[in-house]
């Protein structure tokens, strides 16, 4: 786990322990699954716990982590994200699992070359005669194309 991931992991668990008490005032439940099953609105915990990780999201400087181009550089810009609690257990931090989905800004798809996608950032001022800067990268696990538009 990277430092960033560990901070997200531990702080979101702490926040889950705090925020879940509102939905668990008799202390009957231990897991997020139990809370979702028995308590109306416990789904709100995705949102409420996300407050603990916003500072870490900001530290990314709008760059999606983990995904690099073929030069090893982070290149996908984002401002949309979605945080979710996959699982958690008040008794055991080892059961705590969260996910953050990052959604890139729009890219232009140019070509697929072997295993690589060749894309460029959207630049409306770029004329057809100018060279455009491109990124080449592999679609790795946990990376997908979210929307596509002709």
């Amino acid at each position: 786990m990277s430092t960033w991931e560990r901070l997200v992991f531990t702080d979101s668990f702490t926040e889950f322990k705090m925020q879940s008490q509102y939905y668990n005032q008799k202390g009957e439940y231990n897991t997020f699954a139990e809370l979702k099953h028995h308590v109306p609105n416990a789904e709100q915990l995705h949102f409420l716990v996300s407050g603990a990780v916003m500072g870490y999201i900001r530290q990314l400087d709008d760059l999606i982590p983990d995904v690099t181009n073929n030069l090893g550089l982070h290149f996908l810009k984002f401002n949309q994200f979605r945080f979710e609690i996959i699982n958690s257990d008040l008794r055991n931090i080892d059961k705590h699992v969260v996910a953050i989905n990052f959604y890139s800004e729009e890219l232009q798809y140019i070509e697929q070359i072997g295993d690589y996608l060749l894309t460029s950032k959207i630049n409306p001022s770029n004329s057809d005669n100018e060279p455009m800067l491109t990124d080449m990268f592999v679609i790795t696990p946990y990376l997908t194309i979210y929307t596509i538009q002709q």
Partner: protein, 251 residues
């Protein structure tokens, strides 16, 4: 840095250009991480290297960056005194004092106080999470805040005067935790009513007061016969309002 063969650029680009959005889940490592107790993986080598796109098959490009800016410990975004996040409305300064009812209501220092309330139109910051919609990460938690009480048991928030929504009197939610994060009390703050009060002066913002639920008909506050949940609110619409309340809670 990459020279692309001229034929590619000569192609009729517009015919096959498409725009796309890439979505990435960043936390496979977190998913696995709960099983790892060591920090052995915290090197930059964890990303698999990829072969360069040149004709030399063994030309491996070294990743130059996998962790981005240096991550530092930060408190939850709720930890702040000004919770307005760009919401507009009459300024409200809320001064909440927490006392320990198990000790003659003496000030409770170090208690964590969360508050949240609706905006001038009666809307809360989105709950999200249940849908599949991504959100912009700026200001998603508007009008929610967290402060720790000082030696006098006091926390101060800067916000806007809450609007109202159907079925409820004007209110602010409060959740008090001890310093260790154990929940001590979940409650709500009510507002005084009648001629000259802040509720009357704000006049429900753009909604007006038609259909407003007053405290005596509010399903949360109607049993508060002595008005113990009603704050003292002073001020006016031009210079803003100040709310004061003492909440006594068994520590």
């Amino acid at each position: 840095m990459i020279s692309v063969s001229p034929t590619l650029l000569d192609m009729e680009r517009k015919n096959f250009l498409r725009s796309l959005l890439i979505g990435a889940v960043s936390t496979p490592a977190v998913i696995n991480a709960c099983k790892k107790s060591s920090v052995a993986n915290e090197t930059v080598g964890t990303t698999s290297t990829v072969t360069g796109g040149s004709s030399t098959a063994n030309c491996v490009v070294a990743p130059t960056e996998t962790e981005g800016p240096f991550p530092t410990k930060v408190p939850a975004s709720y930890v702040r005194s000004d919770i307005t996040d760009g919401r507009t409305g009459h300024k409200l300064t809320a001064k909440i004092t927490i006392g320990n009812s198990s000790s003659n209501c003496s000030p409770m220092a170090g208690a964590i106080v969360d508050i949240w309330h609706c905006d001038a139109d009666g809307n809360y910051s989105e709950y999200g999470g249940t849908g599949m919609q991504p959100t912009n990460y700026q200001s998603v938690h508007f009008l929610r805040g967290r402060q720790t009480t000082d030696v006098n048991g006091l926390v101060t928030f800067t916000s806007i005067f809450p609007g109202w929504y159907s079925g409820r009197a004007t209110h602010i939610h409060v959740h008090v935790y001890n310093a260790a994060g154990k929940s001590l009390k979940v409650t709500q703050i009510a507002f005084p009513e009648g001629s000259g009060t802040a509720v009357a002066l704000v006049n429900g913002y753009s909604k007006g007061m038609s259909g407003y639920t007053y405290n005596k008909n509010d399903n949360v506050f109607s049993d508060d016969a002595t008005g113990i949940e009603i704050a003292t609110v002073t001020g006016n619409t031009s210079s803003g309002f100040e709310l004061k309340i003492q909440l006594s809670i068994p520590a």
